[in-house]
């Protein structure tokens, strides 16, 4: 297996990459369970974890081996070629040597990137027949769709929900959709609102929200209604949990909790981060009005929203989460764990929901290597979070891609939204 530079890929490169990931601000948290790597020979290595770790394979997919020879040493002006910089330029940000099917031949940041097929690509069985790819970022939804329909481009992603029908009906276009894994939800901040400490009030809210309505009307069917965080296929996915929309029941619960006359809360949501985020928030606010909760809603562009989120600036705040590890535990660790600034647990738990028993159960699952047992534990976690109405799940945002008819995208697409362009076939 050869790098684009011509160097051969060996375990030395894997170790180089592993050590680099352990230093990276973005990855060191994910690689924390790994204590080291042992090289056995040129093509065999051993990953060492500090305790039994069931997500070993999931996490190992983040090791995209770096060409150690290419990225070692110093540049002409004396900078370390392997430097990791969060801002400013490094050798690695402008020089490329990987093992992928394509090499970058031209790059104008934010305008276009050109890729050409790498002759020595390791997968000689790959059916891919695309020699050159031009990637053009088109931010504006309408322009992106027009570019496809006018024949300017062959393949677009994402497809905006409002244009799904238009593309489905176009005789020259091909539409592929898939249920996604990013959960959209609202937190109910118990520190800011006394009533949210009462599980009955939280349940009332969970009963008042019509997830199916939102998915059908606002998302135009472009979302899968959710009653838990884990999407289907994750170990924690609990089949028995379904949306529980029932306004009468919600009103009754409010009455039992002693809040029949309701109260007023503030709500914040981004307006350019998730698909239709601001409209979803408006719909949720309207649904809460039916159980006498008056909502003072504010929507903000994402650049301004996240600082507000970090400050927990509203009583109910929206967040979307995709698990970096493609595993259920990641959801709980960031979104429902008792917030702890020292360990970073519950970093995005804007509800301040805290149940040490559930946290302990997740931690137990995290060292359980029997995957069936682990799945049972995580499903129990989902069940308990559901019963406790720890948060308000809304839906998993769907994924959509579109192409010209002769571009066979379906086989190369996947739920991680990493199309394997190397295997793409154009007829």
């Amino acid at each position: 297996m050869k790098f684009h530079s011509g160097n051969e890929l060996t375990t030395a490169d894997v170790k180089f990459t592993f050590d680099r990931l352990k230093q990276s601000q973005d990855f060191k948290a994910i690689f924390k369970p790994f204590s080291g790597i042992n090289i056995i020979d040129d093509y065999t290595f051993e990953l060492v974890t500090s305790e039994p770790y069931p997500l070993l394979l999931n996490t190992a997919t983040y090791i995209f081996p770096f060409d150690s020879e290419f990225y070692s040493g110093q540049t002409e002006d004396g900078k370390d070629k392997s430097a990791i910089l969060k801002h400013g330029n490094s050798f690695a940000s402008e020089n490329l040597s990987g093992t992928g099917p394509y090499t970058v031949t031209e790059r104008k940041q934010g305008v276009r990137v050109e890729f050409e097929r790498f002759d020595d690509y390791w997968d000689t069985e790959s059916p891919g027949n695309v020699g050159k790819i031009v990637l053009t970022p088109i931010k504006e939804n309408n322009t992106r769709v027009s570019a496809l329909l006018s024949g300017g481009v062959d393949f677009i992603a994402p497809v905006p929900p409002n244009d799904l029908e238009r593309i489905r009906n176009d005789k020259n276009a091909n539409l592929v959709t898939m249920s996604g894994t990013r959960i959209i939800l609202f937190h109910m901040n118990q520190e800011r609102v006394e009533a949210f400490k009462n599980p009955k009030v939280r349940q009332a809210i969970a009963y008042a929200i019509n997830q199916e309505g939102i998915a059908a009307k606002i998302m135009k069917g472009f979302a899968t209604p959710a009653a838990q965080m884990s999407p289907e296929g994750y170990q924690g996915y609990n089949e028995s949990l379904t949306p529980r929309f029932d306004v009468a029941k919600a009103q009754e619960l409010m009455k039992e909790a002693g809040y029949e006359d309701g109260f007023t809360i503030t709500m914040m949501a981004p307006n350019n981060r998730y698909v239709n985020d601001d409209k979803i928030a408006q719909a949720v606010a309207a649904m809460l009005a039916r159980i006498n909760i008056k909502v003072d809603l504010k929507t903000l562009p994402k650049a301004q929203y996240w600082p507000e989120y970090d400050n927990r600036a509203a009583d109910m705040m929206m967040i979307g989460w995709h698990a970096d590890t493609e595993d259920s535990a990641n959801f709980y660790e960031f979104l429902t764990f008792c917030p702890d600034a020292d360990t970073g647990a519950g970093q995005y738990n804007a509800g301040n929901y805290c149940n040490p028993e559930i946290d302990a159960l997740v931690q137990k699952a995290n060292v359980e290597t029997d995957l069936d047992k682990r799945a049972a534990m995580l499903q129990e976690v989902e069940q308990r979070l559901y019963d406790d109405a720890a948060f308000v799940p809304l839906h998993w945002q769907d994924l959509a891609w579109a192409s010209k008819k002769n571009v066979n995208i379906e086989p190369v697409l996947n739920v991680m939204n990493f199309p394997y362009l190397g295997d793409l076939v154009v007829e």
């Binding site: 330029n89 940000s93 940041q109 006018s150 300017g152 600082p307 970090d310």
Partner: protein
């Protein structure tokens, strides 16, 4: 002349200063640049370390003085997203915007003068009324709508079957209202000619020109009606003046009166307004560039805002401010050439 230039340059500095202060004052409202730089799962501690490194934790005054000191040496900081000096990023994007503005200006000049003059000379003709009507519509449609309609008609194409297609006339009418499409709807195309420095031009290749058509027409659509109306109004006024009547009485040909004597005086206010409008057009490109994914400074600015790329936002505002000052200065100079009775420095003649 020298005094005039000195006055203008000091004005430019004042404008730059005010813009930079305003841009700095609002940056707190633009969001946290760290959100775009690091992943969601990066801890608060790590974020704080990067903030410290970038100097974002210093008091605003300290940050401003540091910025101003560097700015005086021609360094407006590095863009967070592009990891390059902001002026370099702007220099890379500016040619695309300038070509778009030039394209739109050419359309405006070549259409507004003949149409405006015609509408002034023959105010009652149905063609004049048609042009004035269309221009009212044009002025009231927002540019992004114009752009979307243009893309639908000329990029994607529209097939019309309003009329019975089994009859000859129906088929003819259907074909008449249907459009082919095929014009490029985004970007500048693959074949750009490198002129100098960062200037890559689309004016010298077929595809480059094709890519320019829809964006230039959209951008021109906002200003064109204004210019047609302005030229028409000014021309009608000039046609009433004494010297035109004398010229007529003297028996000069209509063409000579209209195009040599009258038009020249019509153009004075048009140049003033035009200069300012070109400055405004640079600002309007933000919308046009967004719809057509035109890789110019307008699109760059909009993306910088969504990314909270504060150094780039500040630098863009300052460059645009400079463009305004420069175009206004040029307009004043040209005005002096066209009308020699105007004294630039304002001294009594």
């Amino acid at each position: 002349m020298l005094a005039f230039l000195v006055q203008r340059i000091s004005q430019a500095f004042l404008v730059m200063f005010v813009i930079s202060v305003i841009a700095f004052a609002i940056q707190d409202g633009l969001g946290d640049p760290l959100q775009e730089m690091v992943g969601m799962s990066v801890s608060e501690e790590e974020r704080e370390a990067i903030r410290e490194e970038l100097g974002l934790n210093d008091p605003m005054v300290v940050q401003y003085l540091r910025f101003a000191g560097n700015a005086l040496q021609g360094d407006l900081g590095n863009s967070y997203f592009y990891s390059k000096p902001t002026l370099e990023v702007i220099a890379e994007h500016l040619p695309a915007t300038l070509e778009l503005v030039i394209g739109a200006s050419l359309i405006i000049v070549f259409l507004s003068v003949p149409i405006g003059v015609y509408a002034a000379i023959r105010p009652q003709a149905w063609l004049s009324k048609f042009f004035m009507g269309v221009s009212t519509v044009g002025i009231s449609i927002p540019v992004f709508l114009t752009a979307i309609v243009l893309i639908q008609l000329f990029s994607i194409g529209v097939t019309v079957n309003w009329f019975p297609s089994d009859t000859g006339w129906g088929q003819w009418l259907n074909d008449f209202f249907s459009t082919e499409g095929g014009l490029p709807s985004y970007g500048r195309g693959d074949e750009l000619t490198h002129l100098f420095a960062t200037w890559e031009s689309g004016f010298f290749t077929g595809t480059g020109l094709m890519h320019l058509i829809l964006p230039s027409v959209s951008l021109a659509s906002i200003m064109l009606p204004l210019f047609i109306r302005l030229i028409r109004a000014e021309m009608m006024e000039v046609l009433q003046s004494d010297y035109v009547r004398y010229a007529r009485a003297k028996g000069l040909s209509a063409g000579r009166i209209n195009f040599l004597h009258a038009l020249k005086n019509t153009m004075l206010p048009v140049i003033t307004v035009g200069g300012v409008q070109i400055g405004i057009m640079v600002a309007y490109t933000i919308l046009t560039e967004t719809v057509f994914q035109w890789p110019g400074v307008g699109l760059m600015f909009l993306e910088a805002i969504t990314r909270s790329d504060i150094p780039l936002i500040v630098a863009y505002l300052m460059v645009v401010g400079l463009i305004f000052v420069v175009t206004n200065t040029l307009v004043d100079l040209i005005y002096g050439l066209v009308n020699p009775t105007v004294k630039l420095t304002g001294k009594k003649a």
